[in-house]
Amino acid sequence: MTIDVSGVAVSLPLLALCGLVVGVVAGMFGIGGGFLLTPLLPIVFRVPSAIAIGTSLCQQIGIAMVAFLKHRGYRHGEPRMDFIMLGGSLLGVDAGTRILALLAASGARRMTLVLDGGYALLLLFAAVLTLRGAFHTQAVPEPIPAQALLSRIRLPPYISLPAVGIPRASAPIIAWLGFLLGALSGLLGVGGGVALLPVLVYGFGFPIRHAAGTGILVLLATVTFGTLEHALAGHVDLRMALAILAGSSLGAQLGARLTARLSSRALRIWFAVLLLITLTTVAVHLVRQY
């Protein structure tokens, strides 16, 4: 059961298995998993990077929709923040997609350097944060919004974010954050949750449960708009997206059940190990290209 993707034979069962593994991780940690899946698709299946990015964004729509409905039910998050970030993120997706097209035109080597470099940085960032949490013996105190770095920037106009207890935050900074998140999605094909969560918690001082709920609407809009942009450029393979989604839907259920059986520390360590394995794979691929 193989399909032809830009001249490359891709096995659908293997693709579904890859989706299953990423889905287990996504279900265990409540993440989209795009930053694991997107770099692995060109390395494992040898599909062109642009198709891997477009297809990965496409299958993330399903995951983002489920997460959005779940968090909406819990009433977590700050909808004002989502509203301001949304405009910036749509612009960012367009910018990211254009940068990717420029990179593709400038040659495969430069494209690999930028994309693999970007994935490696994201994976390293996530691994360091995860390990830091796993080996912290004492509970980390919740950040204080007034003392958080991005909450202190004075750039008017300001907006209050009462749902998360932030009396004043700069609207242009929030919109720029949305722009960066969108650019990351358009360029690398990741949802961006892995980068947004620490920025909200440590940058703005959001309580963790509200940080997880904030940005889901933006992520849903970003991956949907990113998929549209990449689909117009012919970078989305629906057969691949459906095979991955079939595996990841099942994997997410398994992952959620596994979470209850493992301790929080063990979960974090396993997650960090997986991140480091993916990071090593991406680094080896990058070095081989040069």
Binding site: R75, P79, G87, P162, P172
Partner: protein
Amino acid sequence: VRALYVIGCLLLPPAWGALSVVLLRAIDKRWPRKPPPEAKRPPDLEYYL
């Protein structure tokens, strides 16, 4: 054209930020948020949600 696009990318997000503040204030004015019954909700949950 590319330079204009870059300038647009730098200026449009904060412009949207400013516009959204005006819009959110107008929404708050038109549909004022009702405070919740205190006993039924934890104190850190926002009332307009």
